[in-house]
Symmetry: C2
């Protein structure tokens, strides 16, 4: 969890509405329907609102790059290709993941309304922004949301030098009553690639345990990843059980990629520009996994929410280590960012503003 930071002097504040309009226009201009463009813009910018700056508008040029290379279909026919009352598989038809993600979570929610829970695997998709966004869609319906996705192969299994997995995040969102809810959303690596990129830009060392060199040795050089190194699974090394992070990343890859018919493991088509497209694909696009469970599928919803409030209050009032801030619950830092940024605007780095200006000029869109 990040702590809330004041905008730096060199950052420029943009209102959410202004960015929403801009991103919608860009997606419209590359050929998306107005409806899809609005959905995609909303689902992209929730990352900026919630302080996950690496996954928001900073990646807009990346989505455009994928479209230019023919990997994104702006007029997709998203289809359910297999289903039971509580499960199903969706072919995203190379849609923006920002669009297919919302489609699939809505389908999971509909199934949950009918039979208590819904579980949807998605193939032939692309990067979908932050996983927590879709998990929170279920939460708004008095359901628990669970979301996973596979991603660019940058992570080595425990004890290996091969890059076989993505940062493969998991998000879980749980409704509550009076207390702010539990929303966990985390990469299954020690550090996400976005955090490494920040260190690269600032030329700062990474803590030991985030990355290894191409031969598997520990390193603090944040540039090692672009020289054949790998991100490390959560746990960082064998003494601290990084085989468990490897278990987590593998689980996400299997649910998202193998189960859906997407690519998996080292065959996942990368979002990052410095990896080549893998040869001999084992599926189509990247894969996601979405789940929704009605809380009244287990117990009375009001009772559950009051129990969840007890849980949240107990953890928020746990005794901090001396000198540390108050104990937080997953979702608290992101909620603070969102409140701040909706009111005061989203601070963007000059490099991000510059890439927006280039897109504005290229597509003749007002910024």
């Amino acid at each position: 969890m990040n702590t809330l930071e004041k905008p730096k002097l060199d950052q420029i504040l943009y209102s959410y509405q202004r960015l929403l309009h801009f991103v919608t226009q860009i997606f419209c201009t590359i050929g998306c329907s107005t409806e899809d463009a609005e959905i995609a813009a909303k689902n992209l910018l929730i990352a900026d609102l919630r302080g996950v700056d690496s996954h928001g508008i900073a990646r807009l040029e990346g989505y455009v790059r994928l479209w230019e290379s023919g990997r994104i279909n702006v007029k997709p026919q998203i289809a359910i290709i297999h289903e039971t009352p509580s499960t199903g598989t969706v072919d995203a038809d190379a849609a923006l993941g920002l669009v297919s993600g919302e489609f699939a979570m809505n389908l999971a929610i509909e199934k949950a309304k009918q039979v208590g829970s819904g579980w949807i695997a998605v193939k032939n998709s692309n990067h979908f922004g932050i996983a927590g966004n879709y998990a929170m869609m279920a939460m708004a319906q008095d359901m628990i949301g669970l979301v996973m996705t596979n991603a660019s192969p940058l992570v080595a299994p425990a004890g290996s030098v091969s890059r076989m997995l993505g940062t493969n995040p998991i998000a879980v969102a749980v409704p509550s009553g009076e207390e702010s809810p539990f929303v966990a959303d985390f990469a299954t690596t020690t550090a996400a690639n976005g955090k490494l990129e920040i260190l690269q830009r600032k030329n700062l060392d990474a803590p030991i345990g985030w990355i290894q060199q191409s031969n598997g040795d520990a390193t603090t050089n944040p540039h090692a990843l672009k020289k054949g190194g790998a991100l490390l699974p959560l746990g960082s090394d064998s003494d601290r059980s990084y085989h468990k992070g490897y278990c987590l990343g593998s689980w996400v890859d299997i649910f998202s990629g193998v189960l859906s018919g997407a690519n998996f493991g080292p065959w996942v088509p990368p979002f990052v520009h410095f990896l080549p497209m893998p040869q001999n694909p084992v599926g189509e696009g990247i894969g996601h996994f979405f789940g929704a469970m009605r809380i009244d599928g287990f117990q009375d919803a009001t009772v559950f929410k009051s129990r969840m409030d007890i849980w949240l209050r107990a953890f928020r009032s746990a005794e901090p280590i001396e000198g540390e801030h108050a104990v937080m619950v997953p979702g608290d830092p992101e909620r603070a960012f969102e409140a701040e940024r909706i009111q005061h605007g989203i601070p963007l780095l000059p490099s991000v503003v510059n890439s927006m200006q280039q897109l504005a000029q290229k597509f003749e869109v007002d910024l």
Copy 2:
């Protein structure tokens, strides 16, 4: 993942059949039906077979201790108290978790047969052995199994000195074709309490990152846990993202405890003898969560299994770090233990044999 070790000189080999007979007799003698005793013995000893020595027959005296203190009902009326076609909640009636766990996973499997997936929360239960055991029950039915449980509060949230969570394991088992399957089963802490107990017995230091002292400072003293210290969430410290391990442990607690109506967080009734019973319980017993998803709820099962074989072969043939053993897939070490121990017997420490002998004498059962 543990590596396979040869039995030490001071260990004594017992055949699985001999231990199965002994444990069944003990459970019968304390009042279980023959059927329940057989189920409980099988589900306890799978831990010894798979090399998870901390969770097997070494804990038999612990189950007896719980029964003696009135916390285990040997004649339970296990009941479904709430359900939809794909979800439900079970009241275990203070049964052995080894019995209620099998009941609940069978219910999840039945629901999956009907509507594609089944998700069961269990309250009013007790320790159920290893989570992977129940996940593998689903796997045997061409289903993916997902199992969680909460446990004795020994783990501090990130940045706290309060013991609020258990080691809260997650197990995921996935069917395959020709390759040995994926079976992940791991505590969401850096190290499980069982591993710490081994260091305590041998008077060895723990690696940094497993435990903290009562004031939150790092320590290598394995006895710190019994002096008010805490186990650390997977990740070990803030630089290595232990808030993610905290997310994982919390997720398990919410699904197992809050959703089911069991106790959760610091109110979970402890299995370990050195913690007092919490006051003012917020639910009944401990809680588990079981899921089963039919793989043909997502795609043709044969196609899925061949895809899973590709995944397994790719990861098993990933390049090891020089000097390291071959890259393993979750479940590989446990499978090697099981093959070895079924054939040659289960090696037990003298202290475990001693506790078995005491139980044999007390209950007048042959060992």
